[in-house]
Symmetry: C2
Subunit: 158 residues, 2 copies
């Protein structure tokens, strides 16, 4: 089969789409993109305009969406003529994504808070003359401040 007009082999397509072969094949595996055609030898041929599709996937990935979710959206887009329904699906996905991101952030913020507590305590200990021993119950509570050690630090002293 000879070259087709306006169709690109995967290597050239990848360059234009600013990605690489493996990624394109992976997207195809997940049902995110399809080459416009294949040669008899199995070579993939892509339409130039499908570069936008790749870009869309990339853009949605930047929102933190998983490829599965992105595929669902693309599928709705393909199936549905009703623009409102499609927009609604996008809205739903975005709202859910925002919730998901909030949750992740909350977890990380919680960890940061604990780290800060531990750090605070570690600083105090640095300037403290006491050392943990059986006599002072391993600095629990702290001989200087009388405070309890943070959970995540107390074990350090035992």
């Amino acid at each position: 089969m000879t070259a087709q007009p306006d169709l690109l082999k995967i290597g050239d397509f990848a360059k234009l789409a600013n990605t690489n072969l493996r990624t394109l094949r992976y997207y195809e595996e997940l049902g995110l993109i399809q080459p416009a055609s294949r040669s008899q030898g199995g070579f993939r041929y892509y339409r130039q305009t499908d570069i936008h599709r790749v870009q869309m996937i990339r853009d949605l990935q930047e929102l933190g969406l998983h490829l599965d979710r992105i595929r669902e959206l693309m599928a709705v887009r393909a199936d549905v003529e009703n623009r409102d329904l499609f927009l609604e699906r996008v809205r739903e996905a975005l709202v859910e994504q925002d919730r998901l991101l909030q949750e992740k952030i909350a977890v990380l913020e919680g960890q940061r808070k604990k780290v800060a507590q531990a750090l605070h305590k570690a600083n105090e200990c640095r300037h403290c003359s006491h050392s943990p021993s059986t006599d002072n119950n391993y600095c629990e509570p702290c001989c200087t401040t009388g405070e309890r050690l943070p959970d995540h630090l107390s074990a350090l002293f035992q």
Copy 2:
């Protein structure tokens, strides 16, 4: 070999440490804990006091530290008699962890921001009478607001 005083088999130890066999064996694999001894048949026997060690690992995990990092800290703790050096290592690890958490949070916040932008635009489109077509360059820029579409949404309309 008969039961040793004050030593626990892995099952009992796991219960007291509020964890499970698999986790304990995994920690051992990573060099985080060692049973005090083994029976001739290969059974692990743990000291009760090592429950604190497990708890420490758990506590540090809650700060978001990886097990490898935790092992490093525990190793310093074992090797070093100098308490100040140990505390310094802990401080370093905590500071680094805080930085790491900040970075992760920044990424997620960035994603949230983009999601919000896309959502905002999607809401506008919902109440808009225009539809993307070749006539209006696929709503780029928006016929109503004159704004450019967010990157991560423009491709949706093509």
